[in-house]
Structure formats: structure tokens, C-alpha cells
């Protein structure tokens, strides 16, 4: 098949809200240019926020503080459980407390370069500016960041950054930041500005007269379907890494909220940009339900190696030093074990593909602390990494002080997401998208400790300032269930549930999800090829058809039915998976987390093609034939260069 059998080309898309002029003043000028909502009118305006992670929780709390009526939704039993809570490493901010040459401009520069020149300069610069305020805000809320003996905040250098700008709370930074946002949210719930709907899942977007006006939700406990209305809808529903079945995401993370909005007209940008984290605990068997990340900081002192010989089954201790291949140190002498995530991940895959992997199935490499223990002593290593070593031992039953850890890459974060303009508004008026659910700031690759920064920047500072420009035209006409567009959205949900329950096949939803994940990992994972992606699209379409014939979804729609919840999410993952493969197929270059085998340098490194692909690929839903809208990327401040870590 030719490319045109997979998609069609639509008109270019442009960010009409992006200000021009000097980059340092763009955010200030946009805020000044945005319309304001009179304080007395704010309480007449309702905003729905879906998701309560760092982005959604901070947005709902802040909108409540501003005086809007906020309705907040999450599928968990409490807003405090959103998966932001699992982030370990830290949060970047250009405070320059270390006097080591950091600045807003340097954080901006590092983020644009780290994203492999596939993000917008305006957005990234704003993110770097706001990073400074985030730390102030979180400290004021009582977030217990690590401190020095003088009582001031500690920082560390993270993910290969040359300055020390990462603020952290031991290995639980995400937890502490999320609890800060959660507490601010609970304060607004008590104040009556936010109403909380936990154990509720958004299953459809309601668009009336061209504006996003509400959502259809299912109460996961009673099974009741209801239509919820507002003057604007904010999606903060996270990333879609679970399309791979195995990922570091929580089991409940899903793409349904975003995908339903996409089907209703919101463009989906760069879906193929996924981040694969190099240091996760390997799969132990067919029962594996998720993967656990080991903090990247381990690579500061651990040495990565595999045996030199293929199929060497000796235990690590029996392999002499000269029969070990410290391959990162060998290939990348300048950065060694600290090369960026995408490079470390692909190198691990390559040595395993050569048959030199270790552990069950040969899908693992060693991360060895023997040298560090010899150099620093066991106590020093324990002080630095004790909690991580315990976690590793709990899961694998092996003691990393005496035998090297085994690690393998796993899907961790998705840079793609719903397309938004500078105001974080999607192509559906009144639908805003924040946090990991949007696409805007990380380009083709996210730097370590930048996810927390972006989630909180969007939720605390960007959205609450930009949404007013839209809401100033409201409140919009009252709605009820009689409205034809509302009734239609509700019926879509009811019909879909009925359809899922009526298949009554002979194969479980999880078995389909596992198989979909295997296809995605194989063909749309760390290395993608033209032939592989075409094969994947065919296989996904076949599997999707089989799903609707053979899936077994037990029970009914009345009351708690976790199998049915999963079935709906997996059905949407099938459609997303197709689009991811089509996006990866069309992007015939390597960029960040997207490595196309056909586009590499002679040394085997990723090779961008700025002539042909310096754009955002924003996809319009079109069933089997999506429509590609291109947003050109221009770089005025950071000149695109090829990354080199040799």
C-alpha cells in the first residue's frame, strides 16, 4: 500500500494564540491581551476538570480559588491517588540557587534541545519562566522538599543536566507535589467552590453549537450514566502509555477521555512520540501486569554491562571482568552510563537482540554497583540508594548489594497528546487540555524531572490565566437532556456499553490487551521500521475486529463492573494504536523517542530530517483514514543541531 492508503493530507494548522516579539515577554503580553472575567461573573461560570493529577488537581484548586464553579472527576476512589503520585526523581526549576550558571534561558534551551527540536519555542520558554513560581508555590503549601543543613532547599543534577536544578523530596517528589495539590483541592471542596466526583469515568464529550459544553460520565459504583454540563471542559487525564499493556503507568491509566474528544473533533498531535525509560525491573513471566521504574539516579553510580559472548548463562559473579561488555562506556566514552534515556534504552535493546541479554527470556542487562561499593563503601551506597535497593529486592527476591540488578527499558511517558494552542485550548472551542494529556512542551523527548514541572505549570499558572479569555464570552445558554446533541452523546455511551456486554465471547479483555501491547512493543516501541509498522497496522486491525467478536465482558452495567471498565478502555486503545503506527510510519525520520531504523547516522545514531519533518503532526479523526494537519515549527532562539553524546 502507498502512504495515501493510510492517511490523507489536510490544511495546515496554526497556533493563532501564539504571541510574537521578544520571547521573554510573550507570556506577559498574552496575559495582558487576554480578556478578564469580572469577579462577580466568575461564580456564574462552571468548569469541568477531568483528572486530578498534578495538572488537573492544581487546575481545579486554582480555578476554585479564582471563584469559578468547578466540577472535578477522577476514576480512583480519591483524587489523591492519580498516577502523578508515582513520579520519583524531582522537578526542574531555573532558580539558579546554586549559582552554577542556570537561568530561564538555559532551562528553555535544554528543553528545546532535549525535545530534539520538535516542540514550540514559545511554549517551552513560558514553561521555563513559570518553573520558578512553582517551587515558591509548593513550598508555601508545605511540600517537604529535601533541605540542606542551613535550612535552604537542596537540589541535584538529574538526567544528564550540567546544572543542579532539580528539586526533590527523596524518591517521592511526585507524591509530595500531588499531595500539595490535593490538599489545595480539598480546601476548595470544603469551601464549596469545587464539587468532587470520585469513582466517575468520562466516556464522552458533549459539544453543543460547536462548543465543548460537558461530558457524559459513568458512576463506577452505581453504574448510573449522567450528563454533566459546564461552560468549558478541561481534560487532565494523563498519558496513553498503557496502550503497550506493560508500562510504568498505573493499571487504570487510559486514553478514553482524550480519545472520545479526538473522535469529536479535537486533533491528536504526535501520537508516536513515546518515552521508553531505560531502568525498569524486567518482566518475570507471563503473569506480569505492570512494570516498575527504578530511578534514573541509579545510573550515576551503577555500571551497565552484559556478557561479551552470546548465550552466556553463567551467573554474574562467575563472569570474569574481561568477558564483560560495559557497552555504554565503550560506545559513549564521554557520557558513559549517563547518556539520555532514549539512547540508553535502544542500546539495551540492541545487546539483547544480539542474544547477550541476561535473566528470564534474555530481556535484561546488568546494572552493577560492585565498583561503587568498592569505591564508596556499602554504607555510602545504602545512604544514597537504600530505598531503591529495598524496592528491587522486594520485587525480584534478589539482593542488589551482592548480585547486580537486572534492568530493561519500559514505556514510561507519552509526549504526544491532544493538540492545543498557546492558551492550551484544543481545536474544539471550550475544550482545554493540560499536563501529559496535551502534546505541547516536550517535543519528541521529555527530559527527566520535566513532567512534574509541566503538569503544575499548566494547572497552577497557565490554564487559570488563559481560560478566562474564553469564558469572558460566557455563561453560555443553559442545557438539559432534551437537547439533541446532549441526547446523542448519552446514547453513544449507552449503546457502546450495551454492545460490549452483548459480545459474550470466549476470550478475556486482558488477553486482547496483552496481545495489542505485544504488537505495539514489537513494532512501535524502541525501534520502528516501515515494514514493521505496516505489519502492525494490519495486525491491530485484525485483532480489533476479533475483539468485537470474541471479547468476554462479564456482568452488567448496573453497579461496579471492573471488567467492563477495562473493556471500554481497551477498545479505545485499539483505535489509538492504529493512529500511533500511522503517525510513526509517516514520520520517516528519527526524532527523540521515535527511532526509525531507516534514518540513522553511520554510527547508528538517530538522524532527524529537518527539511521534511520540522512540524507537529496533528491528526484529525477519520476512522481508517485519518487526516494529517501540519503545524510548522520555527526556531528563532535555539538553532537545531544534531544531538551528540559521544
Amino acid at each position: 500500500m502507498t502512504m495515501t492508503d493510510y492517511y490523507t493530507l489536510g490544511d495546515p494548522v496554526a497556533d493563532t494564540k501564539a504571541p510574537d516579539g521578544p520571547i521573554e515577554t510573550r507570556w506577559e503580553r498574552r496575559r495582558f491581551g487576554a480578556k478578564l472575567v469580572n469577579p462577580a461573573n466568575k461564580r456564574k461560570l462552571t468548569v469541568i476538570v477531568v483528572g486530578t493529577g498534578l495538572a488537573g488537581g492544581s487546575a481545579a484548586a486554582t480555578l476554585g480559588e479564582l471563584g469559578y464553579q468547578v466540577k472535578s472527576y477522577c476514576y480512583q476512589d480519591s483524587p489523591r491517588r492519580a498516577h502523578s503520585i508515582a513520579a520519583q526523581g524531582g522537578i526542574n526549576a531555573a532558580k539558579n540557587y546554586r549559582n552554577d550558571g542556570d537561568s530561564v534561558h538555559r532551562l528553555f534551551y535544554d528543553t528545546v534541545k532535549g525535545g530534539d527540536f520538535r516542540s514550540r519555542e514559545s511554549n517551552v520558554h513560558r514553561l521555563a519562566q513559570i518553573s520558578v513560581q512553582i517551587i515558591d508555590q509548593c513550598v508555601a503549601q508545605g511540600v517537604p522538599f529535601a533541605r540542606e543543613y542551613g535550612g535552604l532547599l537542596d537540589t541535584r543534577s538529574f538526567g544528564g543536566a550540567q546544572v543542579s536544578r532539580t528539586f526533590y523530596a527523596r524518591g517521592q517528589t511526585g507524591q509530595q507535589l500531588l499531595l500539595g495539590a490535593y490538599q489545595a483541592l480539598e480546601r476548595q471542596i470544603a469551601a464549596g467552590t469545587v464539587t468532587m466526583h470520585d469513582r466517575h469515568e468520562m466516556l464522552e464529550l458533549i459539544i453543543v453549537d460547536g462548543r465543548a459544553r460537558g461530558i457524559v460520565v459513568r458512576d463506577l459504583v452505581t453504574g448510573e450514566i449522567s450528563t454533566e454540563f459546564a461552560d468549558a471542559v478541561v481534560l487532565a487525564s494523563g498519558g496513553y502509555g498503557n496502550v503497550f499493556f506493560l508500562s510504568t503507568n498505573a493499571k487504570g491509566c487510559n486514553v478514553t477521555a482524550s480519545w472520545r474528544a479526538h473522535r469529536k473533533g479535537a486533533l491528536f498531535a504526535n501520537p508516536c512520540y513515546t518515552q521508553i525509560h531505560p531502568t525498569c525491573i524486567p518482566v518475570s513471566g507471563d503473569h506480569q501486569s505492570k512494570l516498575t521504574l527504578m530511578s534514573e539516579s541509579l545510573r550515576n553510580d551503577g555500571r551497565v554491562w552484559v556478557p561479551k559472548a552470546k548465550g552466556d548463562n553463567r551467573v554474574a559473579a562467575d563472569i570474569p571482568e574481561d568477558e564483560r561488555d560495559y557497552y555504554l562506556e565503550r560506545i559513549y566514552p564521554a557520557f558513559g552510563n549517563l547518556v539520555p534515556r532514549d539512547i540508553a534504552s535502544r542500546a539495551a535493546k540492541n545487546v539483547c537482540d544480539e542474544g547477550r541479554g541476561v535473566g528470564p527470556g534474555g530481556l535484561g542487562v546488568y546494572l552493577d554497583f560492585a565498583a561503587a561499593i568498592g569505591r564508596l563503601g556499602r554504607d555510602a551506597v545504602e545512604a544514597k540508594y537504600g530505598n531503591l535497593f529495598e524496592m528491587y529486592e522486594r520485587i525480584t527476591g534478589e539482593d542488589p548489594y551482592s548480585t547486580p540488578m537486572r534492568i530493561y527499558p519500559a514505556v514510561h511517558y507519552t509526549m504526544g497528546g491532544l493538540w492545543v494552542d498557546y492558551d492550551l485550548q484544543s481545536t474544539v472551542p471550550g475544550l482545554f487540555v493540560i499536563g501529559e494529556a496535551n502534546f505541547s512542551d516536550h517535543g519528541a523527548n521529555r527530559l527527566g524531572a520535566s513532567a512534574l514541572m509541566q503538569g503544575l505549570a499548566d494547572g497552577y499558572f497557565v490554564l487559570p490565566n488563559t481560560i478566562g479569555d474564553y469564558l469572558a464570552a460566557g455563561p453560555f445558554p443553559k442545557l438539559d437532556g432534551e437537547n439533541a446533541e446532549v441526547a446523542e452523546a448519552r446514547k453513544l455511551v449507552e449503546d457502546r456499553i450495551e454492545k460490549l456486554l452483548s459480545i459474550n465471547g470466549d476470550r478475556t479483555v486482558d488477553s486482547f490487551h496483552r496481545e495489542l501491547g505485544r504488537i505495539m512493543w514489537e513494532y512501535c516501541g524502541m525501534e520502528r521500521t516501515d515494514a514493521g509498522l505496516r505489519k502492525a497496522i494490519t495486525e491491530i486491525r485484525e485483532l480489533k475486529a476479533e475483539f468485537w467478536q470474541r471479547a468476554k465482558v462479564p456482568g452488567d452495567g448496573e453497579g461496579l463492573n471492573q471488567s467492563m471498565e477495562r473493556a471500554g478502555r481497551v477498545a479505545d486503545f485499539f483505535e489509538l494504536a492504529e493512529l500511533m503506527c500511522i503517525d510513526a510510519l509517516h514520520r520517516e525520520e528519527s526524532a527523540g523517542g521515535h527511532f526509525r531504523a531507516e534514518s540513522q547516522t553511520e554510527e547508528g545514531e538517530a538522524e532527524r530530517d529537518d527539511e521534511r519533518f520540522s512540524y507537529v503532526a496533528a491528526w484529525e479523526f477519520g476512522g481508517d483514514l485519518p487526516v494529517l494537519h501540519k503545524e510548522d515549527l520555527t526556531f528563532e532562539y535555539v538553532h537545531p543541531s544534531q544531538r551528540s553524546y559521544k
Binding site: S78, H83, Q141, Q175, L560
Partner: protein, 248 residues
């Protein structure tokens, strides 16, 4: 290994519920406890039976959603370990394992092993925060915090809100959860202005939500997957007395 599982089945909040026995073969010692239940549920689904409902999400010990009483102990036999991080290598071939939900007046059962823990959110709503609206913060270095205080505050703040402390307490008390938040915020300079009202309001909300009183049995801290120390409750009591005196 093969196991005999006795699992609490309850159709909904109104149902009386009972223990139901299942045999499960070919359990790998490398499975997590929840993966073992996944295997059971796959089988029940194919057999046309209703799978067992249980709460879980991150499966890496931090979200606080998983919540099983295993052989009478919340989160099972391993110290400082959530259910999702417990692995089957800690059980033996042929063992009988009882699996029940959290049992406490303040945590009604929703279905099978799933309970409603919103009472914890109510306690936080009453004052488990520092009032610092977005945008109002001074520079982060404006107020240094002694490292010892910051470290102690952090330790208390690692509470994941799972509710094991309540499930273990003979009184069904939520005092360890409440005390962890009082300790976290009360140790920081930013938390001082609301310190007195916070403790009184949170204790009142705790009692209204149906939690029992604390009699210092210490069961809570012994099952806590994050090792929140009992001293936090002593600190709460001290703050409470101080706040009452200040109010009178």
C-alpha cells in the same frame, strides 16, 4: 504452587456477604499478590462467574489504593509492604489464604474487597492543608526550615492514605492518618498560623466520620506500609491540648 483461597464476596453494600473458597493452581512465586488475583479473575471470567472486585492502581506501593486483609493482617505478612508489592514467594505451596476487605465502620464495603474511604478526604477537608492560594507565595528561600524539622515532616508526609491503620485498629480509629498530617504540617513554619484550628477541626471531622477513638494499642503503626511512627499521635495529642488551652 497451588493455593486454597478463601475470599470475601459481597455483591454490594446492602448484601450480607460471605467467604467463598477457590482453588488456584500453577501460581508462580514471582507473581505479585494482585497478579495472583488477576489469574483467578481471568479464570472466573472464562467460567462465566463474576470476577472478584478489588481496588488497585499504581501497583508500585505509592498510590494507596490497594487494600486487602491477608490472613488477618492488613497488607499481609511482610513488614512495610503494600499488598501490590507483596509477592507469592512469601507463601508456601498448599497454603490456605484468607482475603478480606478493610473492615471499619468508617469504611463501608462497596463490593467484594472494595471499600469506600472517602472519610479520609473529609478529614483533610477539615484542615489538612496550608492556605496558600496560587500566586500568593513568597520566594521559596524566604523562610529557611531546619533540616531536622524538614526531614521529620517529610517522614510523616509519606503516608499514602491507604487506611491499613484503620483496618488494624481494634477501635477502627483513623488517628495515625490524622496524626501524620498534623505532624507534617505542624513541623513546618508555613503550617504555624493554622496549627491550632487545624488540629481541632481535623479531630472533629475524624470523630464525625465514624472513626473510633485512639487507645494507643499501636496496631496501626505495625501494619503501616510506610512506617509512620506512633510518636505522631503523641504529637497530635500535644497539639490538641495546646489548641484547646489557646481556645479557652
Amino acid at each position: 504452587m497451588s493455593l486454597k483461597l478463601r475470599i470475601w464476596r459481597q455483591a454490594d453494600a446492602a448484601d450480607k456477604g460471605s467467604m467463598v473458597t477457590y482453588q488456584l493452581q500453577n501460581v508462580s512465586p514471582d507473581m505479585s499478590f494482585l497478579e495472583m488475583l488477576d489469574v483467578l479473575n481471568e479464570r472466573l471470567t472464562l467460567d462465566g462467574e463474576d470476577p472478584v472486585a478489588f481496588d488497585h492502581d499504581c501497583r508500585e506501593g505509592i498510590c494507596g489504593m490497594c487494600s486487602l486483609v491477608i490472613n488477618g493482617v492488613p497488607h499481609g505478612p511482610e513488614k512495610a509492604t503494600t499488598t501490590c508489592q507483596l509477592h507469592m514467594r512469601h507463601f508456601t505451596d498448599g497454603q490456605t489464604i484468607d482475603i478480606e476487605p478493610w473492615r471499619a465502620a468508617a469504611f463501608p464495603v462497596v463490593k467484594d474487597l472494595v471499600v469506600d474511604r472517602r472519610a479520609f478526604d473529609k478529614i483533610i477537608q477539615a484542615g489538612g492543608y496550608i492556605s496558600a492560594p496560587t500566586g500568593s507565595a513568597p520566594d521559596a528561600h524566604a523562610t529557611p526550615v531546619p533540616k531536622a524539622d524538614a526531614d521529620l515532616a517529610f517522614e510523616a508526609a509519606t503516608c499514602i492514605g491507604c487506611g491499613a491503620c484503620v483496618a488494624a485498629c481494634p477501635n477502627g480509629s483513623g488517628m495515625l492518618f490524622t496524626a501524620a498530617k498534623i505532624t507534617h504540617l505542624g513541623l513546618l513554619p508555613q503550617g504555624q498560623p493554622e496549627r491550632n484550628t487545624r488540629v481541632i477541626d481535623m479531630i472533629n471531622a475524624h470523630d464525625e466520620a465514624g472513626f473510633g477513638g485512639c487507645t494507643n494499642t499501636g496496631e496501626c503503626t505495625s501494619v503501616c506500609p510506610k512506617g509512620i511512627p506512633l510518636e505522631t499521635i503523641a504529637r497530635l495529642n500535644k497539639d490538641y491540648r495546646q489548641a484547646l488551652r489557646a481556645a479557652s
